[in-house]
């Protein structure tokens, strides 16, 4: 149910922010240029603007290339949600590092490597990439393969396997 709403919203957003992706790209690229160059006179910034324009022009044509069977520029991520999600993800990276370090250092860690399969309906290919990356970053699990909505995940211990299957939007599968 929740997933259906996300799909609808993504569809609506596609119409209102058609050039949002390009704009964000241009701003980020310009920021990278300014940080890496360190010269703030007219000429250097002018070169930067030319380079950014060229790269955005190249990337603009990339969105029509198919990625995993669908166009990657068609559905957009909701920015506010992404921004609330990132701090949580950073925290999860720390937790996951500590968890695996604990497993490594324990004399009898009770390793139980398992393969978990579950389906998770995501609105677009970018959302699937983010979910796959997040699974890899969070404690004890790494994404092995993604086929459509079917995620195959390798879990280090038995408890981590059960955590991931309980994530929202997922249905566990044997």
């Amino acid at each position: 149910m929740q997933n259906d709403q996300t799909i609808n919203r993504a569809g609506v957003q596609r119409r209102t922010y058609r050039h949002r992706g390009l704009l964000i790209q241009a701003v980020l690229l310009m920021a990278v240029w300014l940080i890496l160059s360190g010269y703030y006179d007219f000429l250097h910034i002018f070169y930067g603007v030319i380079c950014v324009a060229f790269v955005v022009w190249l990337n603009n044509r990339l969105t029509v290339l198919p990625l995993a069977g669908e166009r990657c520029g068609e559905k957009q991520i909701i920015l506010s949600r992404l921004l609330t999600y990132l701090p949580w993800l950073l925290w999860q990276i720390a937790v996951s590092g500590f968890y695996v370090a604990g497993v490594v250092l324990k004399p009898n860690p009770r390793l139980a490597p398992t393969i978990v399969r579950f389906t998770s309906r995501q609105p677009g290919v970018v959302a699937r990439v983010i979910l796959g990356n997040s699974i890899t970053l969070t404690p004890g699990t790494i994404t092995l393969a993604i086929d459509g909505d079917l995620f195959t995940v390798h879990a280090l211990t038995a408890e981590t396997a059960t955590w991931k299957a309980a994530w929202p939007g997922s249905t566990a599968r044997a």
Binding site: G97, V100, V104, N133, P139, L144, A145, H154
Partner: protein, 117 residues
């Protein structure tokens, strides 16, 4: 000002030591864990945290200037590429049919007995 600089240095050293420690644990994990997949866990997660802590330590050491902004860029790069690299290693291993290690049955029974107590 003197005190502030001292605190900054101490924080930087603590962060970097933490980072080095996690890198060390990651390396120990790569050597001790039983199969390819579990070793990927050690290199992919523990080392990522180690690098993040090291970079944060360097940022604190630099203070707020252009160099620490560059370090933020490095940090973003590591956070995006590290899980992708780990995932691809695991995926290729999975497709190539690397064997999974599983716990010996005798050990499992021992664990069950320990849990029952």
């Amino acid at each position: 000002m003197e005190l502030l600089a001292t605190i900054q240095e101490i924080a930087a050293v603590v962060l970097m030591l933490g980072g080095v420690g996690f890198m060390l644990i990651g390396s120990i994990g790569i050597n001790t864990l039983p199969d390819f997949y579990t070793r990927c866990h050690a290199s992919g997660k523990v080392d990522t945290l180690g690098i993040v802590l090291l970079l944060m330590g360097m940022m604190v050491h630099q203070g707020p200037n252009l160099n620490s902004l560059k370090l933020v860029l490095v940090l973003c790069f590591v956070l995006v590429t590290s899980p992708v690299a780990t995932h691809f290693l695991m995926r290729r291993a999975f497709i190539a049919g690397f064997k999974f290690w599983s716990r010996p049955e005798a050990d499992k029974e021992k664990d069950d007995a320990a849990l029952a107590d």
